[in-house]
Subunit: 377 residues, 4 copies
C-alpha cells in the first residue's frame, strides 16, 4: 500500500476490503511521506518492520528484488491525489498490478500515460469507484442491460455531502486539509472527489456515455480555494438527458450518492446510504423493492453478495468486491488461466481516465460562461 | 365554478376543498363549454338547475343581477388553461373575487392585465399552487424565515411524473388530451403544468427569487407536440444556486414533487407523496422528522392543520387551506374587518404572473441554445 | 350531530368527512350537554339557530316533527362514550339511520339491544372504525380475500400512541379528561379507544375472527384510573395466531396503527401514518409498494379513492368513505333502489357489538390471571 | 474454527469478521464432521494443509502441542447446535479462549457446566449474539443507560423471517435441514435460532431482565418437527412489560429483527435491515434519526464504527466488533495488561446460558397451557 498512514480514512477501507475475503495477504507498505509515520503504520498493520518502507520508490525497488511468491503481487494506492500517478507509473513499469484510488491522477495527460502503460504491459489496473461494487448497483446495471426499462430517457446522479459546510480545512482536519489544497487535490475538489463518482455511477449503471455538459460550479464557503458545489446538465450518447450534481455544502447530508434512471417502461432508484435496496418503478405494476440475496436477483448481483437476504452489507463489502475480483484475476493469471467473466467487472484505468476528462470538461464549461461543452475525450 | 365538468379531475378537488371546512356553499357553475354537459354536472353537484349555466359569461352576468347575500361571492376557475383568462377578467370586472387554477393565463400579457385589474379593484385573487398549502411546507418556510438554516446556499426543486411516458394524448384520455394540445395548454406543457409548481414551491419555501435560468427542455415521446421534460440550472437573488426540474416521462413516478434546501446550518427535505413529514438535517445534531399537529411546530403550520399528530392529511386538505384562507378574507371584508395575518397566506395573482414569466424565461433560454437568461420580470 | 361541541376533535372530523363529497347537508345538532355551548357550536357550524338543540332528546323529537325532505335523514353521534347508547337508541326508535363513533356503547348489553333495534327497524347503522375506510386497507382485504396470500397464518395488529405518557387527564385536557374517567369512558380506556380499532382492522383485513385471547393489560402511569397499555396474544378461527396491542404510553408515537398479515405465500404491511402505501412481501418475488389511484389496484380500492396516483389522501378521506357509502345507501333507499354492493362496505352495529365483546373478553382474561379466554360472543 | 465447511453460511461470516480488522490470523480448523470436507475447506481458507484437522478433538490436541506464539489463541465455534458444547468444553479445558455461535449448547446443564469452566479457568468466552455489535444498538443501550428515555415501560422485540414458510428442510437445503432436525437443532428451532437473539437484544439494549413469560408457540408448516413461530408476553424486572416474538413463517420477511423501547420520556426503534439508523421519538420534540459516525453519537457507538457518517456498515462489521473486542482482550492478556473497558462489551457465556434458560422457560409455559412462568434461572 501507498498511503493509508495515521489519520487516513481510505487506507483502512482499502485494508479491510482487501482482507475481507481471505484472498489477499497484506505484506508491505509505504504509508506516509514521513518515514517515521510509515514505520508506525506498519506496526499498526502488523507488518514485518522491514517491509514498512520509507517511500513508494523504495518499496517498489526492494519488493521487485524479492523472490516471486514472496514479493507483493500488486500495489494499492490510497494516498492523496497528488501521489497517485507516481507510484502507479512506477508499479506498472516494474510489473506490478495496481489498485488505485480516484481521481486517477493529477492531470489528464498523466492519466493518458497510465492508460498507455497498462495497454503496453497488459497489467491489471483497478480504480476504486467502489460504489459500483454494491450488488444492487450491479442489479440496476443488469436490469437496464437486459432491456427491462426500455430505452433510457433520463438520468439523475447526485452526490450531496455536507461536511464542508464550514471552512473545515482551516481547522487542520486531515481529510479536509488536503482535499481543499490545490497542491494536493488538483484543479477541483468536489468535482473530482465525488463528482467523478456520480459520473462513474451514471455511466456504469446505464451503459451510456455523457457526451455534453453544461456546468455551474461554485465555491460557497468564503476563503475556500476550490469548488464545493457543482450542478451539471448532461446529455448522453443515446439521446437521454439528465443532471449530475456533487456538493460538499449540502448541510446535514452524509454521503447521499443517489441515482435515478428512467426508461420507456420504468425507473430505478438507488441510494448509497441504504445500499441494500434497489427501487424499481413501473408503468404497469407496483413499485418493487429489490434486495440482495434473494433468488430472483441477477447472477451478477448474487456473485457480489456474501450474506443471505436480510443481512445488510456495506461499503467495505462493496469495496471488497473490487479487491476480490482483482485477486481472482491475478490468481488466474498466476495459474495461467482465464478469469471468469464475473471477475472482470471492476472499474479500470479507462474509468479513471474518463474521470479526469470529466473534470476537464466541467472546467471548460465553467470557463466559457457555463456553455454546453462536448465531453473532452 | 368554471370548468370541472364530467371527466375533470381538478374540478372535484376544488369542490371538495371548498366544502371541507364548512365555510363555503357551492351555489353555481358553468362546468363545460357544452351547455348540456354543464347541466349534467350541475345535477352531480346537487345544484339548483337554474344556476348550472351554459357559459361563464352567462353565469357572471346572471349572478351579478342576483341580490347580495344570494349571488356568488367569488368565482373558482377549474377549466383548462385557455379558459382561465376570460372568466378571471370578467369576474374581476364585475366585482367578484377569484380563485383560479394555474398556470394563470395563456400569455404573460394576459397575466399582467389581471394583475392590473386586481390592483385597480382591490379584489382577492388566489391561484391554486396548492402544494404550498401543506402544513409542513409552511413549517419549512417558517424555519428558513426565522433563520434556522442560516443563509440559503442551494435549492433543488423537482417534480417528476411518469404518466406521459407514452403518447397518452393519442388515446383520447381527457387530462392528457388538453395538456398535450398547444391550443388548450399553451406554449408549454410540463414546464407550465408542473414546472410552475416546482418554481412556486422553491420561491415560497425559501423566500428567494430566481434571477437566472439555464434550461434544457425536451420532448422525449415521439409525435408529442409539447415538452415533456425539462432540466434547469437556476440562480437565486441571494447568491444561492440550484436545480429545478419537471418531467412527465419519469416512468413510474406519481407526483414526486420534492424540495431540498440547504443553508449554512442545515438542510430541509419535503416530498409531496409523504407530505406529513418534513425532514430537517443539521450540521450539529441528528436528523429530525418534523410532523404536523405537534406542540413544537410553528404557529403557521398549526393554523393549517386540522387533525392531531399522527392522523395524516392530504392534498385536499392542502388545497382547502387556500379556500379556507380566501373564505376567511372574504368574510372579514363582508364584515368590514381586517382578516388575521395567517389568512393572507395563499398564492396570489402575483405568483400566477411569476409562473407565466418563468415559462417565458425557460423558452427564451431554450431558444438561445440553452444559455443563461435573466428571469423575465 | 350529537356531540362535537367546543374542544371536540372527532366532531370536526365527522363534520368535514360528511361534507367532503357534497352528498350530505349538515342541518342540525345537539353539540353539548350544555345548551349554551350547543348554540355556540351551531353558529360555528353555520346552522340555522333553531336547529342547534339543547339536547339530543329535543333534537330527535323536533326533527321527527319536521316534514320529510326537511328533517334530518340520519343522526351522527360524536359524543363521549357514555352518550352513545342514548341517542342511538332514540334515533332508531324514531326511524333515523345512525352513524356512531366507537366504542358502540357503555355496556355490551346496550350494544346487543342496539343490534336488536337495527334488526327490527331495518335502519342503517354505521360505526366509524374509520381506518378501514382507507383504500389501501381495502386493497389488503381484497388481496387476502382473493387468495393472493394463501391461508393466513399470522396477524399482528398494533396501535401505539404516546399522548398519555404523562397524567394528562389531571391537566384538564378535554380528550384525556373524559377518556381517563370511568364514568364517561367505561371500564377501559386504551382497550376501548384504540384496542377496538386494532381488533376491527385485523378482522376486517383478514376476514377472520378472533376466537381466543390472552391479555396482559396495565396502567403504567401512576394515579391513572384506567388501562393505558395492553398486550394480547390471540387465536383466529382458521388456526392463525397473532398479537394485538394497544398502548397510550408508547412515548413519541402518534397514531401508529399498523397491521401485518402473513399467509402461506406472502405478507402485507400497512401503517396508518403513511396510509397511501400497502407493502406486499412475497416468497418468490420482490417486495411491492402498492399505492392507490393506479390501474392495477382492486376495484374496491379505486372506488374509495378520490385522487389520481401520487396525490395523498388522509384520515378525513377515509372517514368520508364511510359517510359517502352511508349517504349512497340512504339515497338509494329514498329512491326505492338497491344500493351498489361497494356502498355496503362500511362498519356496522355488528362491528360495534364485537368491539364491546372484545373489551369484555380482555377484561375476563385479565381478571383470571391472564389466562386464555374464549372470545365472548 | 470448528464447523464452517462447505455450505456453511455462518462459517464465512465468522471468517470475514475475524479478518476484517487485521488483528486476527486464521490458522487452523476442523471444518466438518467429514475429514475430507474439512481438508477441502482448509484449502478454500488458504490454510496450511496440516492444520485442517479431521476433528475438533484432533485440532485441540495438536494445537495444544504447538509452541506458544504459533498455536491458535482461541477457538471459534461455527458448527450446528449439537456440536457447540463438545469443542467449547475441550477448548476451555485446554486453556483456549472461545468464541461460540448461539444457542450456546444443546441443554441448559451443558451451558451451566461451561459457565463453571469459564469461571474456573478465567478464560474469555464470547457468544456471537452479533446484532448487539451494531453501533446503533450500542447507542440505544447508551441512551437508556444514561436516562435519556426515563424509566422503561414497554419493550417489543421481534424477529420475523419468512424462509421456512414451506417445508424447506424436506428439500435438503443445508441450513433448513439441520435447524429443522431435533437431533442437531435441539428442543426448539425458531425460539433458539432467532428467539434467543430477540431476547438478548431486548436485555442488552434495556439493561433489564425478563422475569416472566407467557408463550404461545406453534408449528405452522405441516410435517415440520419443531416450532416455526412463537409469540410471547413478557415482564421485566423493573415492572416494564412487553412482547417478544420470533417467526420463520412470516412470508416475505428477511431478517426483520426489530426492537422498540418506550420510556417515560421517549421511545427508540431499531431495525436490523437498516442498521445504520436509530430512530428516537420524544414527548417534547421531533423524531430523530441518529446515525453512526457523527460527532453527537456516544463514545461506545463511535468505538464500534469504522467509517465516517454516511458510509454504511453491515452485519459483518457488527460481527467483527465482537472479534475485535475479543482480540483486544486476548492481546492485552498476552501483554499482561488490562483491556480497555470498551473492549469488554461483547456477549459472554452468561448471555449464552440465559438463552438456554429462555428456551426452557418458553417450553415450560407452552407445556402448561401457556401460563405465565417465571424465567427459569
Amino acid at each position: 500500500m501507498v498511503g493509508g498512514g495515521p489519520g487516513s480514512f481510505i487506507g483502512r477501507v482499502h485494508y479491510s476490503s482487501a482482507l475481507l475475503d481471505g484472498h489477499i495477504n497484506f505484506v508491505c507498505g509505504a504509508f506516509s511521506s514521513d518515514p517515521a509515520k510509515s514505520k508506525i503504520a506498519g506496526k499498526d498493520y502488523y507488518l514485518d518492520p522491514s517491509r514498512a518502507y520509507d517511500s513508494y520508490a523504495e518499496m517498489i525497488e526492494k519488493e521487485t528484488k524479492l523472490p516471486e511468491g514472496e514479493r507483493m503481487d500488486f500495489l494499492c494506492i490510497a494516498s492523496p491525489n497528488h501521489v497517485h500517478y507516481g507510484p502507479a507509473k512506477l508499479a506498472l513499469e516494474n510489473g506490478f498490478h495496481v489498485v488505485s484510488d480516484k481521481p486517477l491522477t493529477f492531470t489528464t495527460d498523466e492519466a493518458r500515460s497510465l492508460v498507455k502503460l497498462v495497454e503496453e504491459t497488459g497489467l491489471i489496473f483497478a480504480v476504486t469507484h467502489a460504489y459500483t461494487g454494491y450488488p444492487m448497483v450491479k442489479e440496476a446495471r443488469d436490469m437496464i442491460r437486459t432491456g427491462k426499462l426500455g430505452k433510457i430517457r433520463k438520468v439523475i446522479s447526485e452526490y450531496p455531502q455536507g461536511w464542508l459546510s464550514t471552512l473545515l480545512e482551516a481547522t487542520g482536519q486531515t481529510q479536509a486539509a488536503w482535499r481543499g489544497d490545490p497542491e494536493r487535490s488538483g484543479k477541483v475538489n468536489s468535482m473530482g472527489d465525488i463528482g467523478t463518482h456520480a459520473l462513474n455511477l451514471a455511466e456504469y449503471v446505464t451503459g451510456l456515455k455523457v457526451t455534453e455538459v453544461c456546468a455551474d460550479i461554485s465555491t460557497m464557503v468564503e476563503e475556500r480555494k476550490l469548488d464545493d458545489d457543482g450542478n451539471l446538465l448532461v446529455h448522453f450518447d443515446n439521446g437521454a438527458r439528465g443532471i449530475i450534481y456533487a456538493s460538499q455544502i449540502s448541510a446535514g447530508e452524509e454521503n447521499g450518492l443517489t441515482i435515478r434512471v428512467y426508461g420507456e417502461k420504468g425507473g430505478l432508484e438507488w441510494v448509497q446510504t441504504e445500499p441494500n435496496t434497489l427501487i424499481a418503478k413501473w408503468l404497469d405494476r407496483p413499485i418493487e423493492y429489490i434486495r440482495p440475496g434473494n433468488s430472483w436477483v441477477s447472477d451478477i448481483a448474487q456473485y457480489n453478495t456474501r450474506l443471505p437476504a436480510g443481512h445488510p452489507e456495506g461499503l467495505i463489502e462493496a469495496f471488497a468486491n473490487i479487491y476480490r475480483n482483482v485477486a481472482t484475476c491475478i490468481q488466474h493469471r498466476l495459474e495461467g488461466k482465464e478469469p471468469p467473466a464475473e471477475a472482470l467487472d471492476f472499474p479500470t484505468v479507462y474509468d479513471g481516465l474518463r474521470g479526469m476528462q470529466f473534470i476537464d470538461t466541467v472546467l471548460a464549461s465553467a470557463a466559457s460562461d457555463n456553455k454546453w461543452i462536448r465531453f473532452q475525450e
